[in-house]
Symmetry: C2
Subunit: 229 residues, 2 copies
Amino acid sequence: MKRVDKAVVLLSGGMDSATTLAIASERHSIIAVHFNYHQRTEERELWCFNRLCRHYGVSKKIIIDMDFLSKIGGSSLFKGARPVPVAKFKKGEIPSTYVPFRNGIMLSIVSAIADRNSARYIYIGVVEEDSSGYPDCKEGFIKKFEAAVRDGTKNNNISIIAPLVRMTKSEIVATGLRLGVPYQYTWSCYESNEVPCMKCESCILRMNGFSGAGVRDPILPDLLKSNRG
Amino acid sequence: MKRVDKAVVLLSGGMDSATTLAIASERHSIIAVHFNYHQRTEERELWCFNRLCRHYGVSKKIIIDMDFLSKIGGSSLFKGARPVPVAKFKKGEIPSTYVPFRNGIMLSIVSAIADRNSARYIYIGVVEEDSSGYPDCKEGFIKKFEAAVRDGTKNNNISIIAPLVRMTKSEIVATGLRLGVPYQYTWSCYESNEVPCMKCESCILRMNGFSGAGVRDPILPDLLKSNRG
């Protein structure tokens, strides 16, 4: 398939952004952008980012250091912050893992990159339905942000695409498997141990996704194999 | 006057942001935020920022390093970039001093700061009429960005105030003088020489402002005095 137009993809290295990259790669030449904000899991995420970029042959990689985010503070995801809580999913409650306006900041930076590189599309893997309830992961927010970006950029023709926003986690896994996403190169856990903690919200959401799609998550240890070995 | 609610003020150290700080200080307790993005004039701007903060007794100062902006590139304002052009003001043309989506990025970061500190107001000194025509300095953009910020933050009650957006440069100077703004602690020139170059857009706009208001700019050398000495 001929790839038309450039797209900037936010690629954290989690399962959602990897699936989003797979979708964008079908149509566009890719500029992949990764954000380092001194989160506990940065090293592992960066490894996934580089593997995914190689897998999809992206044309340009940009790594943005957001030192300042931990200076603003306010989230248990930062290194040295209070512990990451176990999953709760209380309706209408925003958990302590919330990083204030993180998607707003990341979207504004990739909008600058898109404007500078004459890319017409921005892809972001936000999920509204099956999420932790962060306010900047909702479709309404994305639409309003897009309207602001169109007004505030030189090329004023940028579209922000959030292909997963209405999907459940198992729909995301099913889509990704159909597109051949190498999920072994993704990391979702909020902690940075050898294996996922399976207690934090992000682990629970991922586990539901894979079990709902009826497949085994390739990053989980193969218990059968290790029992045998 | 009793100061109610907190406001976050973007304070570059130029005449517009200094005037904006003066206006915000009349009503609010202030968190002042300065951005360093490796522009040619950063040292001088930072000096102005600190002086202005002391003058207005701001309650909190935050300096944000935006290293990444020069990595995105695209503006003659960065150190080591092509030279700053002399003023042209061609209708409908965006000059090379444009930093892609700079106000969008800065507004998203101060929105995070406002959300984190439960501040209800953000003040930004953008000017639409008497400006260089940057797309992210227009009132329509600010309104749309505010709508996105309300959707995307935890406290969802943030207002973005742009008190100068419809003023001419001479109205800004007149307003500032009425409020006693110490313009000797401001810098507008895009170059970083001992005295303003008086050739770049920013110098021309400032000069028009002071001459329109019928007052002498305190940062210009006193030619009469130096001739005498």
